[in-house]
């Protein structure tokens, strides 16, 4: 909640002629990306730069990782160079958590394998709050809102983080996915599960479409892309069944024509571009709260770097 309120104040910065604050001057943020990413990396970079921090970008390709250096050694090297915070995206679940035990600075999880992606969940919550709780949003939760998360939940770190965060904020979360794309432990998540998207649509305030992560699919989870798209893709006809005020979200990158139709992605209900803009603000808030002061109370950190 503190993060969302901070982001709310920082959002006005985007409209100003000088989009820069001196707060983190002299601090160094390292973007450590072991997996490909456009928006998360650029978003973190923009966020850090707007707060005047120095940003060092690191991608596994073309670095010593290709020579076989381990995550720990890379991290210690970066720390020796004076990194105050490390933003890590890694293909292995739990990488950020391991890293946090090795380095002194703050560690921000920018997605670890199929586990979590906390800042994405924060920016989604921020977007939902701005869109659907008009008026004084400060301090407001998401009570009473119904969020349906659709698609490849099994491989989605976004889904897991969103289920946890949105339910903490008071929203009712429903997952709609084919049985093969739901994790085994889904019964222990604080959300409902449905195999039928069409019956969920009329009562949803928010529909969050997930990308079908073909690069992580080693088995046949559904007969064909076309069949998946027919049953779980959001097309114009399905969008028409949503309530008047409902919004359509997608964490990106989109597979147009698979989980979301192009007309839907470009409609006024879609918040996809807004989500990117809010990503910068939310990440600024996170960086400010982690690096802006002295020591942060330990209890607050797990929300950012689980």
């Amino acid at each position: 909640m503190l993060i969302l309120d901070t982001a709310e104040e920082l959002a006005s910065l985007a409209d100003r002629p000088i989009k820069k604050l001196p707060t983190l001057r002299g601090r160094t943020v390292v973007n450590l990306f072991y997996e490909d990413s456009t928006r998360t990396r650029i978003s973190f970079e923009a966020a850090a730069k707007r707060l005047s921090a120095d940003v060092i970008n690191f991608s596994a390709k073309g670095s010593s990782v290709a020579k076989g250096e381990s995550l720990k050694d890379t991290a210690l090297t970066l720390e020796a160079m004076g990194a105050d915070a490390v933003v890590i995206r890694h293909g292995a679940s739990g990488a950020a958590h391991r890293l946090a035990g090795w380095v002194q600075g703050s560690v921000l999880n920018a997605g670890d394998g199929t586990h979590e992606h906390p800042t994405q969940a924060l920016l989604d919550a921020f977007t939902i709050r701005r869109r659907l709780k008009r008026g004084s949003t400060r301090g407001a939760g998401l009570d009473g809102l119904r969020v349906t998360i659709v698609g490849d939940v099994l491989h989605s770190r976004v889904a897991r983080s969103n289920v946890l965060l949105l339910s903490i904020l008071g929203a009712e979360v429903t997952l709609a996915a084919p049985p093969t794309l739901l994790p085994l432990a889904v019964g222990s998540w604080p959300c409902a599960v449905s195999y039928d998207l069409d019956s969920e649509l009329p009562k949803s305030d928010v529909v969050m479409m997930l990308r079908v992560q073909q690069e992580r699919m080693t088995d046949a989870y559904f007969p064909s892309v076309r069949e998946y798209s027919r049953r779980y893709g959001l097309d114009v006809a399905r969008m028409a069944r949503l309530p008047e005020h409902a919004i359509v979200m997608h964490p990106g990158p989109m597979n147009r024509g698979v989980e979301i139709a192009a007309e839907v992605a470009d409609s006024v209900r879609s918040t996809i571009v807004e989500q990117v803009a809010n990503g910068v603000t939310t990440r600024m808030a996170v960086l400010y709260l982690l690096l802006g002061g002295t020591e942060f109370p330990a209890t607050q950190i797990p929300a950012v770097a689980p």
């Binding site: 001196p22 707060t23 802006g292 002061g293 020591e295």
Partner: protein, 194 residues
């Protein structure tokens, strides 16, 4: 220039100004602003959160009463520009709200409750710098308690209050604290205004 003769400047959580005295001080400052800016044209009042904001609103309301002039009023959060951020845990941000026309070419009057080291005002000047180029910047405070650490001076002062650095000045305003008063106490347990 003191607003009113206060009870002997107390040293143990004693009141320095009561509600009526605060009201008179603000009335006088409102007149002074009008006088100094030749009628209050092109003036913007910007309060520094938390307690500068209601003070700025009250001043704007007074000026409205006296001259029938609507003075734009806003707030300016300086948290991100402070020089002591590293000395405290991260603070929650206040709100920055500018009048629709912005600050370019206007006379900006910054409003705060207590002027002490001057560091908040320095941060405010930096913050303002990012928002535009005012024609002039002036400073109005309810209490000036001395001990400046920077070459900063207030243009409008509600009350000059000689203090020792061990003392803490609390400004209470109805909008925030349910009553109007200025109190001074020895080494306050509430960790008052820096």
């Amino acid at each position: 220039m003191c607003a009113a003769s206060s009870p002997v400047a107390g040293r143990d959580g004693l009141p320095v100004l009561d509600a009526d005295e605060i009201r008179r001080a603000l009335t006088r400052i409102a007149h002074e602003i009008l006088e100094r800016t030749h009628g209050g044209d092109e003036v913007i009042l910007l309060g520094i959160p938390t307690r500068g904001v209601p003070l700025a609103r009250r001043l704007a309301a007074r000026i409205g009463e006296f001259e029938g002039l609507e003075v734009p009023c806003g707030s300016l959060d300086v948290t991100m520009h402070r020089d002591d951020l590293r000395l405290h845990p991260a603070r929650a941000l206040g709100r920055t709200e500018l009048p629709a026309d912005g600050v370019d070419g206007k006379t900006v009057v910054l409003v705060d409750d207590v002027l002490y080291s001057g560091r908040t005002v320095r941060a405010a000047l930096d913050a303002l710098n990012d928002l535009g180029r005012p024609r002039a910047v002036q400073l109005a405070v309810l209490v000036d308690r001395g001990h400046r650490e920077l070459p900063i001076r207030a243009d409008y002062v509600g009350k000059n209050l000689p203090t020792s650095q061990r003392e803490v000045v609390h400004v209470l305003l109805a909008e925030v604290d349910a009553q109007d008063a200025v109190m001074i106490s020895d080494d306050g347990s509430k960790g008052g205004k820096p």
